[in-house]
């Protein structure tokens, strides 16, 4: 039975291999406490994984670090992923296309597309002091 409360979790992640799994573990525990099934948060786990990897890899910060915040009720999950890098222009990122990737040397570049597609609401704010991504998933 889902609980009638809200919970939040804030984590700061340094750039070390597979550190995104720490955030996923936190999300799992929040969901379990709230009585929300695995399948409801599965897509959110992929979206936040991509957001963290992108932030740590592309932020351009001297010492990459990402702050992740989960805010969860029984009805929705909001995820904030923030880096403190140089920022980027989101509209300059071309949507990847599998037809073009086949036969091309560059097979990567799926993160933003996945985040946008898996979110019920997606926002990105980017500037010279970093990038903040907001991913909302409905849990009902």
């Amino acid at each position: 039975m889902p609980r009638n409360e809200s919970l939040s979790l804030k984590i700061a992640l340094p750039r070390i291999p597979d550190i995104e799994l720490v955030a996923l573990e936190g999300l799992d525990r929040l969901a379990r406490h709230m009585g929300i099934s695995d399948d409801k948060v599965g897509e959110a786990k992929i979206a936040v994984t991509e957001a963290i990897i992108n932030a740590l890899e592309h932020s351009g910060a001297n010492t990459p670090m990402v702050k992740v915040e989960f805010w969860m009720t029984s009805k929705e999950l909001v995820i904030y992923v923030r880096d403190f890098g140089k920022g980027f222009e989101p509209t300059s990122i071309e949507d990847p296309d599998i037809e073009k990737k086949i036969g091309s040397k560059h097979k990567r570049g799926w993160g933003l597309k996945l985040m946008k597609s898996l979110a019920d609401d997606f926002q990105i704010e980017s500037g010279s002091r970093g990038t903040k991504i907001t991913i909302k998933k409905l849990l009902t």
Binding site: D18, E20, L21, V22, L24, E25, D39, G42, E43, K45, I46, T49, E50, I53, P96, D97, I98, E99, K101, I102, G103, K107, R108, W110, G111, K113, L114, S117, L118
Partner: protein, 118 residues
């Protein structure tokens, strides 16, 4: 926490079945691609990737599998993904992977798809 990546592989009727366990990240994706390459050079053209025990994957790991799909296309081969977690299934759909690869509920069903194709 998801366990470290590992894989097993077996050849059945000259078809390669790779079963993974744990997080398919860059290391996991590369390990799958390396295992595939060993058998591809020996003439294997039909591959099953069983992701039953990999509930967490990332797009970097999956990018290695696009390379595998590409190589199989060149020899009229095929890869079928099986036992997909619903979120992983959706991820691969968003990436368009199923335009060039198959999916099946399990390994036996994948073999049935290969049989129907030959």
């Amino acid at each position: 926490m998801d366990q470290p990546f590992s894989l097993t592989s077996e050849l059945r009727d000259n078809r390669l079945v790779i079963a993974t366990s744990g997080y398919v990240n860059n290391v996991g994706g590369e390990a799958i691609a390396t295992e595939f390459s060993k058998h591809f050079s020996g003439g294997v053209k039909e591959v099953v990737v069983n992701l039953e025990h990999s509930r967490v994957v990332n797009s970097i790991g999956m990018s290695f599998l696009i390379e595998m799909i590409e190589q199989l296309q060149d020899v009229d081969g095929r890869v079928i993904f099986t036992n997909l977690d619903p979120a992983v299934d959706k991820m691969l759909s968003i990436m368009g992977i199923f335009k060039f690869a198959g999916k099946a509920a399990n390994v036996d069903e994948a073999f049935g798809q290969f049989d129907a194709r030959s």
